[in-house]
């Protein structure tokens, strides 16, 4: 068996050779650590994006001009400029505004993806609110519901059904986009993989495993998105 393997050239040399795979598998702890950082940045970033997105989405669906204009400006700026620049600006702006303050790169990553995807979630929330007719709220209020109970039992359940599929889709994009912090040495999965691969040249196997890591984080959410979409369509 070992003679057969030894006679096949690409298993011994080249970018995907067996020794390279072995090297990667014996250093998996580096990649695990990176994956944990990615999960941390993604989950805290998602919390921030949801909070910001809800506030800005409600603002852009409001009847007053000023909050609507502010929300539009935020959404247009963040949707039309690269996340990478926003992260670089945060990186350089924080020392300008707060001289001497040390901010870990992970925190910049959380703020970066949180603010960027907050703009996308704001659009999802706005569309969800606007899809429920004004008449529904009025009908509920006339039937003796208070504003809060009308929201709780009439508006939000309907809006959620519309909002959930695009929200889970945003979560997938957010996880993938946390990889930009690798460019500013963020210590995430992409950075861990890239710096390990770069040190010994084991690019092939490392990228396969890094890719598998992102796939395992994103694919379940992508499946969930589709299930929710189908449910929405059926309703």
């Amino acid at each position: 068996m070992s003679e057969i393997i030894a006679s096949i050239g690409f298993l011994q040399r080249g970018p995907f050779s067996i020794p390279r795979w072995e090297a990667v598998f014996s250093n998996m702890d580096v990649l695990w650590q990176g994956a944990l950082v990615t999960l941390l940045v993604a989950s805290l970033g998602l919390v921030m994006a949801l909070a910001l997105g809800t506030v800005i989405g409600v603002m852009s669906a409001s009847q007053w001009k000023l909050p609507r204009a502010l929300a539009r400006a935020y959404v247009e700026f963040y949707q039309n400029t690269p996340l990478l620049i926003q992260v670089f600006m945060l990186f350089n702006a924080i020392p300008l505004v707060f001289p001497g303050l040390f901010i870990p790169v992970i925190v910049i990553g959380i703020f970066g993806v949180g603010m960027y995807h907050g703009a996308y979630i704001a659009e999802v929330v706005r569309a969800g609110i606007q899809s429920i007719g004004r008449g529904q709220l009025e009908a509920a209020l006339s039937q003796g519901f208070t504003y809060v109970t009308a929201m709780r039992y009439i508006i939000i359940p309907q809006a959620m059904r519309i909002v959930l599929p695009p929200l889970t889709n945003q979560a997938v994009n957010l996880i993938k986009n946390t990889s930009v912090i690798a460019i500013i040495a963020g210590g995430d999965l992409m950075y861990a993989g890239d710096s390990f691969a770069g040190r010994y040249g084991h690019y092939g196997p490392t990228y396969v495993i890094v890719g598998l890591g992102y796939f395992l984080m994103c694919f379940p959410l992508a499946v969930l998105t589709r299930r929710l979409e189908e449910r929405t369509r059926a309703a």
Binding site: T81, P82, L84, P95, M190, Y207, Y214
Partner: protein, 228 residues
């Protein structure tokens, strides 16, 4: 006013070297993004049609491609093109973006085709339309209406994501700006450079997303609900 005109930020902003550098960067950004969009449109149409056919092997290959690629970061695909495939930086960025964007466009194409009820197909065929004629006159018109707005807004994503090419040292707008910023040490100057680059991206992308939005409203109104 005079103090402002002589400030370090103004001194930097009036230096033509900044604009020449950013100009070259913008050219490469547009080249990478333009090529990726054109290539992704071709491959996306092929892969999307493959999945739409539902034929055993062909549609499975397309489905696996789409599902795997959609769940990977674009940055990873660019790094793979550069380090594993060994392409030069500019081409690695173009191919990495193309691999990703083709999967997205394939889903848009398939979604558009699927939005036309099978009854319309059957009606067309029963009226004596050939496969190509039913495609051309019955299925494609409403399907294309559904496809165009998401494809146009995908352009914005490609232009933004072309900035990832700085990770492999392609001298596009983002990387050019970062190199220029390294000549200055004042945070205000560095932030100003990033603001200038943001403005360039913003003008291009805002124009495209405005067109996408117009198309969406115009088409959904003009078609009187056929596309719904």
């Amino acid at each position: 006013m005079e103090a402002f005109m002589n400030s370090p930020v103004m001194e930097m902003l009036t230096d033509p070297v900044l604009y020449i550098g950013l100009g070259y960067g913008l050219l490469l950004t547009l080249q990478i993004a333009g090529l990726s969009i054109a290539l992704s449109f071709v491959f996306g149409t092929i892969i999307g049609s493959m999945r739409y056919t539902g034929l055993p092997v062909i549609s499975h290959v397309a489905t696996i491609y789409i599902e795997v690629i959609r769940n990977l970061p674009t940055l990873l695909l660019i790094l793979v093109s550069y380090f594993v495939l060994g392409l030069p930086a500019m081409w690695a960025a173009t191919i990495g973006l193309t691999i990703y964007t083709s999967a997205i466009i394939a889903e848009v194409i398939r979604g558009g085709l699927n939005s036309v009820p099978t009854g319309q197909w059957e009606a067309a065929r029963s009226q004596g339309f050939s496969f190509l004629q039913s495609m051309r006159y019955i299925v494609l018109p409403p399907a294309v209406v559904k496809m165009i707005p998401p494809i146009v807004s995908q352009f914005v994503t490609v232009i933004k994501d072309s900035s990832f090419a700085m990770a492999i040292g392609a001298y596009e707008l983002m990387f050019k700006g970062t190199i220029l910023a390294a000549k200055y040490w004042r945070p205000a100057q560095i932030i100003t450079i990033y603001l200038v680059i943001s403005l360039v991206y913003f003008v291009i992308n805002f124009a495209i997303s405005t067109v996408a939005r117009r198309l969406q409203t115009k088409m959904s109104v003009g078609r009187g609900g056929i596309g719904d």
